[in-house]
């Protein structure tokens, strides 16, 4: 059972069996033809030995399927490279010391949940005094001036405040992702900043349950953080990045 890293396939109970579970609905009426349609569909996906284990009539001409099958595709795991935030993660004390030592002034951080998004729990988790999962938020860091603008903040307002507060870092939270509205919102912010020639003035960071670093880079941000992020990860990143940009390290 030595694994061939260049040809990784799903695993059920035997190496390379390709076992996969799927569920989906089709806009076709319940019946044997529906079952066959489901099987043909996954056949096109490169799945073999498919079994429709459960079918349910949803009414209105729709049918739901639970299906198992074996995937014939494989991936080359040895070639996978995922961009990650590189900065080593420091603790609360360490970060403050780092800022004192290298930046020699407080870092100014603005946070907001933008657009019509009213989900503040995520940005609060990063910023609020009391923090999250046992980790203080940025407001508690003596070397950080953190301002949480709350929810439903327009991109224009955010930029205005960023100038007013002379922010070093902008933290943008996006939780609602329906119709890719987060992508729209985040892209708009970058475009507005670029239009005003201010993109380089800020370390631009976004976060949310559907955000990851790679996506953030694609959207023109400097970094992105996903589910389960804690304040020190974010602060470690921007303090080191700021020091780097200012040529202080």
């Amino acid at each position: 059972m030595t694994i061939d890293w260049s040809r990784i396939r799903p695993y059920g109970d035997t190496l390379d069996d390709g076992a996969m579970q799927l569920s989906f609905s089709l806009p076709v009426p319940y019946g044997e033809e529906a079952r066959e349609a489901a099987k043909q569909l996954v056949g096109k996906m490169g799945l073999i030995e498919s079994q429709v284990y459960h079918m349910k009539d949803l009414g209105e001409g729709y049918t739901y399927f639970i299906l198992y099958a074996n995937c014939t595709h494989s991936v080359d795991f040895s070639k996978i490279h995922v961009p990650k935030v590189e900065a080593p993660i420091m603790g609360f004390e360490e970060i403050n010391q780092y800022i004192r030592k290298h930046i020699k002034r407080k870092i100014i951080v603005l946070g907001a949940c933008t657009g019509t998004d009213a989900h503040t729990v995520g940005i609060d988790a990063i910023m609020n005094m009391k923090g999250y999962h046992g980790e203080y938020g940025l407001e508690r860091y003596p070397e950080i001036d953190a301002y949480n603008l709350g929810s439903q903040v327009d991109n224009e307002d955010l930029i205005e405040k960023a100038i007013a507060y002379r922010a070093d870092v902008l933290l943008v939270s996006q939780i609602v992702t329906q119709k890719e509205v987060h992508v729209t919102n985040l892209t708009e912010l970058v475009e507005l900043l670029e239009a005003e020639g201010m993109r380089d003035r800020f370390i631009l960071i976004c976060g949310g349950p559907r955000i990851h670093h790679e996506l953030a880079l694609e959207l023109g941000f400097d970094a992105g953080f996903g589910p389960g992020t804690l304040a020190p990860e974010v602060a470690s990143y921007f303090s080191q990045e700021l020091a780097r940009r200012k040529g202080l390290v």
Binding site: S23, L58, G59, T120, Q178, K179
Partner: protein
Amino acid sequence: MSGKLNLDHRSVEEARVIAKEIAEEVDHFISARSTVSIERTVLRLFGVDGVHDDIPLPNIVVDGLLDAGVLHRGVAFWLCNAIVQTGKTPQEVAELVAKKELSLVDLPVTSEEAVYRTGERLQDAMLDKIFSHRKLRDHYIKKLSEGRKPYLYLIVATGDIYEDVTQARSAARLGADIIAVIRSTGQSLFDFVPYGATREGYGGTYATQENFRIMRAALDEVGEEVGRYIRLCNYCSGLCMPEIAAMGAMERLDVMLNDALYGILFRDINMQRTLIDQAFSRMINSYAGIIINTGEDNYLTTADAVESAHTVLASQFINEQFALLSGLPETQMGLGHAFEMNPELEDGLLLEIAQAQMAREIFPNAPLKYMPPTKHMTGNIFLGHIQDALFNLVSIVTGQGIQLLGMMTEAMHTPHMHDRQLSIENAQYIFRNARHLQDEILFRPDGRIQRRAHTVLTKAVYLLREVKKKSLFTALEEGIFADVKRSRAGGKGLSGVIKRSVDYWNPFECGLRERLQLSIRGEEG
């Protein structure tokens, strides 16, 4: 009331008395004010509808009067005067105003009495019509039957009303008792109600009167087919709270989310504005036989369910009193609470049972609205599905009224069609298998469950005393609920609040107060 928790009845009574005082103080404030949306509601109840250059006629008319500085008298007076003067219908008058072919304030007032008489006649006709909808609902329920409690409450939220219809009909066939059409993200901040059938929303579908109609018709049809009256729910909250109440009353909605505190805390709507709006909207809901749902469940999405359980209870007490002040009977009070214990907790289920049973015993006649786990739902749909199963179990064991079904995909997207099917199946399976468990289990005297309920009740009474001391407004400023602080003059919509003049007139409020047998309240504040 089964009294399984051995609750201290004096504490419950004390809580009610304090909550009543808190609500009355606010009501005092409310009674001296109106809002742009209340005035637009008046227009809608007179039958004004439609848009001009995409702006709803009610907005055009009301904004005109506001600009003219005469809204303090109430829109009814100006409209009815125009009717008297022109002999036209309210709709025609509004259209002329929109086209700038008529100026309400420039018309002469020849007989105030004629104006009032006109208003009252139209008011009477509309309230009769609303009452007839209520009768029709009763008739349907009698003819078709209705779901067994807890009602299965399912949401649709595709953004497209026609796609919503497909999903709603599917859900009804599978067992749904209530269909709630979730609103598009952000609609609650609009100071107008969108118009017509809509097919593009974010995380929900716009609440429009036409959408209400389309969905009502679809549910009536499928209800006939499945032999069960299917209730329709929408969101009577945000800046247009009373307008939506009116639309719901006119289109025979059955359930409405309706809670000013929700808007204040979670939508940053100005507290004065929305509390004023709420009072009037609840009268409409009351008279239309609509069950309201309050939003205490939301508190536990930002605050912790263990630590803040008492804030939910305290808020329920306040909401109950607000509802009573608007003439809403207990049987229409879908007070909200939620299953939001952290699944990592040891004995979380015990705490949850204590809370749900306590709500049941304290509000014995309310169709309590029980919300599923949301905050602690993750991308693990399998675990999510069993979190929802425990939620369903607690509901059937404690006799909840309305079960907002949890979805295993809660942490991802608004429901896919089959997500709904799976969650109905989940609830039906649990409800059936534990149908009479409620009758069979007792709680150990002074055990963990009983003690938890006592603690929460005691803390709620303390909290109410504190709120009473500083007033609800101040309490909200201090972040007493949901860990959220809101300032009295902050948030959206304060500019839409108007001080009533002494000759302020809202025939619908008068009519509703009469029909609901509410006393006329004092006018200062």
